[in-house]
């Protein structure tokens, strides 16, 4: 019933404008760029750990830089534990405890990761960068 061409003088142009205009495409491109950038900004690489904090019976013994490789002996409650730093990672090499749970914790490199030798009272925690969660409860 409608003949758009017959009413050129109406408030709206008789010729129906396209659904998507030039400015819209520009906005769509900008918006897509923004949304894409948000993936990079919020899902980007997490901060790797920078140092390893070694505590014995809750008092800080030393802070090992993860940049400097080496093997360190830590005096604990029941003996010497060996902690190794290698290529930005840290782990227990050996410990005088029965279960060796600390050794089995393996390499730690992300901020917030922890290995503990409870019998010897030694805790190694990676610090620096952005902390990750160890649990999320919704």
């Amino acid at each position: 019933m409608a003949d758009p061409g017959s009413q050129a003088g109406s408030e709206y142009p008789a010729d129906p404008r396209p659904l998507i205009r030039g400015g819209d495409i520009l906005i769509l491109l900008l918006a897509a760029g923004l949304v894409g950038a948000s993936f990079g900004a919020f899902w980007g690489p997490r901060g790797e750990g920078e140092t390893a904090l070694v505590t014995v019976d809750r008092s800080v013994i030393r802070e090992l830089s993860l940049d400097q490789d080496g093997v360190f002996e830590i005096e604990g409650r029941i003996g010497l534990s060996t902690v190794m730093v290698d290529g930005g990672r840290v782990r227990f090499l050996d410990s005088p405890c029965p279960g060796r749970y600390c050794v089995h914790s393996g390499w730690l490199h992300r901020s917030g990761e922890v290995a503990a030798c409870l019998p010897n009272g030694i805790v190694v925690e990676v610090l620096g960068g952005e902390r990750e969660f160890d649990a999320i409860n919704l």
């Binding site: 109406s10 404008r17 659904l19 400015g23 906005i27 769509l28 949304v35 993936f39």
Partner: protein, 183 residues
């Protein structure tokens, strides 16, 4: 709802209640859409199509910012009363979203003029709506980095739904224009 049928009727132009009836009619439509959407479960908290914004956009493009603000305000207020979220955190988020979306609409609509159509405006206001809500949710309710991990997903959803809403609004505006041209 019948007030929406009065659009463009000349004798109504003289009556001082014309704007009121336009607002009432459009707000009723927006509220109905708002409540229908609230009834559907959402795959992700905070994500819903926001089709009620189609109404805001149409009112903005046909009747200007003032009426669009009125319609959005009525929708947020009455919608929250009917859904049962009045003065809850959801309500505050709703208000924030509406304010952000209308601000973006006014800003880009003024700068862009005729070069930007409903789709561009819809995308801009949708992203502003979502960004405003995320900011308030993060600053006031959940100041936890986990929320920020959701930002890309939420913005992607806002972009997609913004395009869809914009296309719907553009089609409706075309239909309305043709109807008026035929009259």
């Amino acid at each position: 709802m019948s007030a929406s049928g009065q659009i463009g009727v000349d004798h109504a132009r003289a009556a001082c209640g014309r704007d009121d009836r336009l607002v009432a009619g459009f707000a009723a439509l927006a509220i109905a859409i708002h409540i229908l959407e609230a009834a559907f479960p959402s795959p992700l908290p905070g994500v819903k199509p926001g089709l009620a914004n189609v109404i805001t956009l149409i009112v903005y493009l046909r009747h200007g910012l003032r009426l669009a603000v009125w319609v959005a305000a009525m929708r947020v207020l009455v919608g929250s009363l009917l859904v049962g979220t009045f003065l809850s955190p959801t309500f505050l988020l709703s208000v924030t979203g509406a304010v952000a979306a209308l601000s973006a609409l006014a800003l880009v609509g003024t700068i862009g003029g005729q070069r930007i159509g409903p789709v561009g405006l819809s995308v801009v206001s949708s992203l502003a709506h979502m960004s405003g809500q995320i900011s308030v949710a993060y600053l006031l309710f959940i100041p936890h980095p986990a929320l920020l991990k959701l930002v890309p997903v939420l913005l992607t959803a806002a972009l997609l739904f913004g395009v869809v809403s914009g296309l719907i609004a553009a089609s409706v505006l075309q239909i309305l224009r043709r109807r008026e041209a035929a009259r």
